[in-house]
Symmetry: C2
Subunit: 236 residues, 2 copies
């Protein structure tokens, strides 16, 4: 059938051969991840191996491999001989634990990233904050999707800019969960004005080049997000 579908190597440096060919399992992984991030797959829904394979027009083998990788991100859970399910909705307790973890990791990331900041990094962060301000904030998901994307990008960029592979891994272990909470926790869009101001404060600290200040600004941001979410008190 459509064996070596090729089609992916548009990114090659020069013509000829793409340096790294796309494998089907990678494509399936990205497709599933996008579905999860976009909220197309609801919490608790079953993710059938065979069904996903039919839907993407591939065999179950690459789907199985992609799901095995996804399980480690915490966005899907697997029960032996029963299959995979999208992780269930956050409880308030889950949320408190997640914020505790973010508070341990993200301020450190901010300090490390700030201490080795480059002009290029700073521009990327500025772009993220600009996108955050410009993003539409309507009631439907499609409307604030770009807002959530810019928010996630800001935090991820800081993690990557630490240059520390382990801090990136630690943040990645949380990143998917953060996104999941943003989608289903019921908050995240009502506090846009406050959140934007706090992001701006973090950015200012970066611009000033003071790692301690960056760490403090990030800690304050995470604490305030937690505070606002608790105040909103999602009915659960």
């Amino acid at each position: 059938m459509q064996l070596a579908s090729t089609g992916s190597g548009a990114e090659g440096r020069s013509a000829g051969r793409p340096v790294s060919r796309q494998v089907l399992a990678d494509h399936v992984y990205e497709e599933l991840l996008a579905s999860l991030m976009d909220g197309r797959l609801e919490p608790g829904a079953a993710v059938s191996i065979d069904g996903t394979a039919r839907e993407l027009d591939v065999s179950p083998t690459p789907v199985r491999e992609a799901l095995a990788r996804l399980e480690h991100t915490g966005m899907v859970r697997r029960v032996a001989l029963k299959g995979y399910r999208v992780a269930p909705v956050f409880t308030q307790e889950d949320f408190a634990e997640l914020m505790e973890a973010r508070l341990a990791i993200e301020p450190v990331n901010a300090r490390l990233a700030c201490s080795r900041l480059t002009p290029g990094h700073l521009r990327e962060l500025e772009q993220a904050v600009t996108d955050l301000k410009d993003a539409p904030r309507g009631p439907s998901f499609a409307e604030f999707r770009s807002y959530l994307e810019a928010d996630e990008r800001f935090h991820r960029l800081i993690a990557e800019q630490t240059g520390n592979q382990f801090m990136v891994a630690a943040y990645a272990a949380l990143g998917g969960q953060i996104q999941r909470f943003r989608l289903f926790g019921g908050v995240g869009i009502t506090d846009a004005e406050h959140a934007i101001a706090e992001h701006q404060a973090v950015l200012d600290a970066f611009a000033s080049g003071d790692p301690q200040q960056a760490e403090a600004a990030m800690a304050e941001h995470v604490r305030k997000v937690r505070g606002r979410a608790i105040a909103d008190a999602p009915a659960d």
Copy 2:
């Protein structure tokens, strides 16, 4: 061939049916993990899917799934269309990054775990420190294997005792790397006396029930491990 029939395990199972059947991919995963932890697979060595399948007398499909899960632990790396390799040896830079990450995560774990400590938890930690003291510390790997196991267990228990699933995940993202470093970094056994004393100090802080002190003791331990390793200056 030997489908779900008998023959394969050779483990005389008691009777009836196990409530949760073992899936082959899980068995392969554990087998590979043990090989990696024990150092039977050297850094940089290729881990062939077909070869592993032949060796364990299973088909390549479960091996592929197990390796996909292992990749996320950082202990093996995958290159599309080229296969899996055991992660290479730590450089001094890798080590510095790992210690930075541990310094961000483990003291927080100690504080959280101490603040909700139970007598049962304390006993488990005491047992780990006791095992650490009693473990043989010979030159060959087989001799200090139990030492490394007790060391890893101590830190992992603290992560689990936080009761915070995300801190456990963050630590797990580092745990395999810590183990890898202990095996191949050239240090970890020469500083046993110091390390044991520091573990004892952490344990004492837990016994006193002071989370701040526990956090400080853990931070000091990690810093000193880093300091001793740098002093040893592995030739690299």
